[in-house]
Each structure stands twice: as C-alpha cells, then as structure tokens.
Amino acid sequence: MRLKRLVLGAALATLIGVPALVSQASAETFIPLFTYRTGPFANSGTPIANGMHDYFSMLNARDGGIGGSKVAVEECETGYKNEKGVECYESVKGKHPAIITPYSTGITLALIPKAAVDHIPILSMAYGLSASAVGKDFPWIFNPPATYWDGLSIIFRYIGGKEGGLDKLKGKTIGYIFFDGGYGREPLPLLHQFAKDYGFNVKEYPVPPAQMQNQSSIWLSVRRDRPAYMIMWGWGAMNPTAVQEAAKTGYPMDHFIGIWWSGSEDDARPAGPAGKGYLSLNFNAVGANFPALQDIKKYVIDKGNSQTPKGQLGENFYNRGVLNAAVIAEGIRNAQKLTGKKDITGDEMRRGMESLKITAARWKEIGLGGFAAPMAVSCSDHNGHHSAYVQQWDGTKWVKVSDWIAPMKDKVEPLLDAAAADYVKKNQPWPKRTEACDKSS
C-alpha cells in the first residue's frame, strides 16, 4: 500500500513538475558562446569572451534578462580549433540556441552549411566569409557591421587620404602580412583587384600558425622589399610579435596598419615605446566611460561574478565582446517585438537580425551612446557595410586618429555578389532561400 502511494505520488509529482520544468527552461534564451581562453590565441579570445559574458550577466542582473527572458549563457572552449568548434556546435544545437557566435573564420566556414539545415542563425561579427553578407544566398549568416573586404577598402581609403589619392600608389609596393589560414586569406581577392585598379605591387607575407612567434625572416624580407605600407590580418600571438618585429626592423610604424582584429592593447603594448605609431582599424569605442559599461562594473564585476581582471574593462577587445553581445541582445529584442513572444526560436531570431536597426539614439538608450556607428541589417544585406575608424597606439593607449571612414561599397558589393554566386555554384546542391522576408527588413 505504502509502495503504491509512493509510486502514485511520484507520478503525480512528475506530472506537475514536468510542465513547471519545461516552463522554467523555456523562460530563458539560450546563447552559447564559442570562446577560447586557452591556447596560442587566448590573448585575443579572453577579453572578447569576458566582454560578451559580462554584458549578458549585467542584463540578467539589472533587467532580469531581455524582455523578460533570462539569458542562459554557456561557454564552449574551442581553442580556436575548427574541429573543436564543430564539436561545440554539435553539443549545443540540441538545446535550441537563439544564435551562435563562433569567433573564428575557420569555424564559421565549417558551420555555414549546417546553419541552414538546423535553423540556427550564426553571427560572425566582422569576420567569417565576406560573401555571407548576401542574404539571398545566406539567410542564416550575419556579419555586420562590415566585411573583411569593407575593412580592406577602408584601409585603402585611409592610405589614399594620406598619399593624396590612391593613384599615387602606382608603382609602389604594398606589403600584406597575414595569418596563413582562412581568415588571413579572406581579403586576398580584393587586394589583388585593388593592385590591378591602382597599379601597385603586392608582396604577401604569410605567417603559418607555427611561426607566429618566429617572424624574424619575414621582417627581414620586409626590410628588403621596402613596402610603402604594411597591412596586417593577424590574430593571437601573431599580432604582438609582428608589431615588435616591425619596430625592431625600423619599419615606420605609422605606415603599418592592422585590421580590427589586430588592434588590442595586448597587441601593441609588448613592443613598448617602439610600438608607438602603429595603426589599426576599429568599429567600437575604447574606454569604460559608458553607462552600460559602468553597469557591468556595478552589477557584475564588483559583485565578483566576472572573470574580467582589473583594468580590462574598457579595453578594445573587451569592448568588442560587449558590442557583440549588445548586437545579439538587440536582435533578440527585435525578434520579441516582431513575434510578440518572450522566448524566441532560431528562426525568429533570424527574422529579428534581418530587420535589425540600431540608430545613434538607440545606442544612447541602451547606455552605449557613441560606442559604435549606427547599424542596420536587412533581408538582402546581412552586413550593412558600415564605417570604421583608424586608431593609433600612443605608447600606452589607443587614440582615434580618423573620422569614421565608409567602405568602397561600389567596389565591394559587386565582388561580394560574384563571390556568393561562386560559393553557391561550388557547393551544390545549395538550398535556395525559402525564408520570407519581413516587411520591416
């Protein structure tokens, strides 16, 4: 009798408890973060991971989540390895993530074909496959605010401004030092196109992963080739070594310019005073003087709920992580507005991202006024091709030295369309877009 009651009681408890558990689980928006706090790329990966994690923790602590839905953050350590990234994806996809941020071009490339099948949007914020900006062919991939090709065209606009016109580059040599992988090779087609258009020579200096901290012969070649400008697409331990070697070689640092992933404090600082003058692109502000960042300090860091070390709040890559999380949060809010639901699915998140519009006023409203340029994504354009600015290392910190520079959309967009068509052709059968565009997108 007692046993019967026990069994009945347990069954009843299960019946009552299961919906409660389901409702508890569904009152959350699941955001997995693919991070790398270990390995040779940890110097770049750790501050970004901290920034993303802290921003979501702050929203949970201050606002109770996003639109009444708590954000459940789960980090998966990839070590910047493609196979680990795919493993992470497979381990989280069953938990219905709203969106995935791979933080690696290589991992993004591996996940692009999977996203459409699993209906999981992927945000590769200013990295990944440039051509994935074309929403018609890549409905599940988003890469705002600018593609690598936009970044390269911004660098050339900056150089053109310094030289008094891009036609002045005719006959000169432009050096391109890059991480020898999918990421570093991504802008090469446009670089060679520019070389044809403006009549300069390109010298390529690939840095294999094993040689990241052993670049002396590369910089000896730079000394021989005497490029008028050096452009860098570096990551992880490659960046500080390149800046140090450039300084050792005596290369003019104000002619050495990195993409936005080669501009953290840890990239320039190890070179000491010799690194003064080094340039890099950026699309987020540096510094902690923003209400949202102060809220992170108040609600998360000061309460001991963060892994962020003292002094990292406000540094470039920390802020990059905050920006990444803020874009996701705005995408979720937008999806909630479109659907009227608190808890959104991957498909609804895709719709939210496809009509994402963050105006200057909206940045201010969320405590990030002036933190980034206004951002707009549409159904056809998943990138927006927004502006970036140039910052310069003054020996101790980054200083903004240019206005916001718009990319050469007229040059980039036709090439992106062609590259997207080429990708689709090479990856047949590629699914035709069946997802409808919202009116607002």
Binding site: A42, Y205, Q213, S216, S217, L220, S221, A237, P240, P270
Partner: protein
C-alpha cells in the same frame, strides 16, 4: 629558363648586391639556431638517460617562463622569482620521476613516450589554471637582460643586432658548455652516460636510476627555463611557444637524438638553413616556407646519414 634563373642565379646575385642583408640573415639564423639548439638539448638530455622522446619539453618551456613571470607579478623580486622557478622545476622533476617514470619502469619506450603526451596536456591545463591563458611580457629588464640594439654600418648598408639576441647567444653557449662539462667530467655525468648505454649494466654497478632521472629532468627543466626566458624576451610568453619547441624535431633528426654536440650543430644548421631559405628562395614558393623547410633539410641529411650527424649507428638484427 626564368625559373632556373630565380632558383640558381638570382639568390646569389642578391647575396652579392646586398651583402648587409646576407649578413643580417646569417645573424638571425644563428640566433634562432642557438635557441633551437637549447630546446633540442632538453630533448637530448632526457633521451640519453631514459630513451624517451619527451614530448612535454615544449610545454616545459612555456610552464617555466610563465611561472617566472607569474611569481614576479605576485610581487616576488625578479631574482627570487628565478630561484623559485628553479625550485619549481626541481619539484616537477621529482614528481615526474615518482608519478610517471617509476610506475612505468620496464615498460616499452612507446609507453613512456605516450606518458609524456599525458604530461604535456596536464601541464597545459595546470599552467592555464594557475597563470591564465593571457600572454605575458618577459621580465627581461628586471632580470638585468639588455634591451635595444646595435646598428653596425657596414657593407653598403647596416646590420642590426638586438642586444637580447647577443645575450641569448652567449647564455645559450655558456649553458651548453657547462652542461657538456657536467656530463663529461663529473661523477653524475659519467653515471648518466652509463645509464644511457645500458640501464641494467648501470643498475648492476649501483647507479640509482631514480636519481639520474630526477637529475636529467631537472637539467631539462633548467634548459626549458633558459629557453623560455630568451624566446619570451624576443616576443612574449604565451602558449604559442610550445609550437616553436616542436622545431627541435628536425634538429634532433639532423643532430641525432643522443648527441649534445649534435643538438648544437643541428640547431644552427636548421636555424641558418630556414632563414636563408625563407629569405632567398621563399618568394618563389609564395613565402612562408620556413615552416616545412627545416624538415626538408633534415630529411635530405637523413638520406646520407640515417643516424644523424653525431648519432650512434645502431644495427639491430631483425
């Protein structure tokens, strides 16, 4: 025809027309080679004493350098931090002997080799847990190591020598010489060589295998620390250094796994070879060839001397 010119003529023309760059390349190759020799030396010491290829030597370089910087960051004065790191490497040597080598006595060499893989992953995880994954700036100034460079105007141009590179070359040479003397002239050194020749014979004359293993792992730890300081001072201390340590493999193929002079000469040949190859022939292949060129050089040597330059010729009946 143009290709043949680029391969066989142009590099030598460049050497003649820009001799300062040629000397600079030689210097860079020499410094890199000396540092490769140091890493290879760590492998040789352990291989000689136990027949084990210590895959963990690379991570020991990172671990030692991170420990040094970590102690310093916690307010320990630089030289005391150096001393504490040496003590830490001694503790590591004891732990390896007690927890890994002793339980695996009489096991096949491949088992011991695999155990060093395990040690590698343990040290990576343990190091990241204690010191974090962020790269650290080597405390070369606090250790009294020089900074800046000498620029020598010569040969129609200039040759630039970093003071830290000169210091690295001197310290590495002194270290190699003292290890050479230690293992040739002292009782422990003779015991080590006896162990290298035959474990059983060494045991039969009363040599303690355990003691020898602790000594060689400790010596390898000291070598790792020196390597970590020098590489760290050239760039910074990060887990990427572990990958560079694998460059010791072609050095060992070339110099022989059991020869200290082989590690030195092999390191210098590989260092010079890859820098000259990358600088003069690299553009022909789209640059970035030094990653694999070291292995090509080693393989070419193997064709003529399978036992390496100074390795022992082993003939086994099959």
């Amino acid at each position: 025809m143009h290709l043949l010119y680029q391969i066989f003529i142009d590099p030598f023309v460049q050497m003649g027309t820009a001799p300062d760059l040629f000397v600079q390349t030689l210097w860079e190759g020499l410094v890199t080679g000396v540092l490769y020799s140091l890493i290879a030396l760590g492998f040789v010491l352990i291989f000689k004493a136990s027949g084990v290829f210590n895959f963990a030597q690379g991570i020991m370089v990172v671990f030692a350098a991170l420990a040094l910087v970590g102690f310093y960051e916690h307010g320990v004065p630089a030289y005391l931090a150096l001393g504490l790191t040496i003590v830490l490497m001694l503790i590591l040597a004891f732990a390896v002997e007690r927890l890994i080598l002793r339980p695996l006595v009489n096991q096949a060499e491949i088992i011991l080799f695999m155990a060093t893989f395990g040690l590698t992953y343990f040290l990576i995880g343990f190091g990241e847990l204690i010191f974090g994954g962020d790269p650290k700036v080597m405390i070369s100034g606090a250790l009294g190591l020089p900074s800046g460079s000498y620029q020598i105007k010569t040969l129609g141009g200039f040759v630039q020598m970093q003071k830290i590179d000169i210091a690295a070359a001197i310290i590495a040479s002194l270290m190699v010489a003292s290890l050479g003397i230690f293992f040739q002239k002292t009782r422990i050194g003779r015991a080590l060589r006896a162990v290298a020749d035959s474990h059983r014979a060494a045991l039969s004359v009363g040599i303690s295998l355990e003691q020898i293993w602790v000594i060689v792992w400790f010596a390898a730890g000291i070598v790792a620390l020196a390597t970590g300081i020098m590489w760290g001072a050239r760039s910074n201390v990060s887990f990427a250094l572990e990958i560079i340590a694998l460059k010791a493999l072609p050095v060992l193929i070339l110099g022989g796994f059991t020869s200290i002079p082989g590690a030195i000469v092999g390191g210098i040949i590989i260092g010079l070879g890859e820098k000259i190859g990358e600088f003069y022939w690299g553009p022909l292949f789209g640059s970035g060839i030094e990653d694999w060129l070291a292995y090509v050089i080693a393989l070419v040597f193997l064709l003529f001397r399978p036992q390496g330059l100074f390795g022992e010729r082993i003939i086994e009946r099959i």
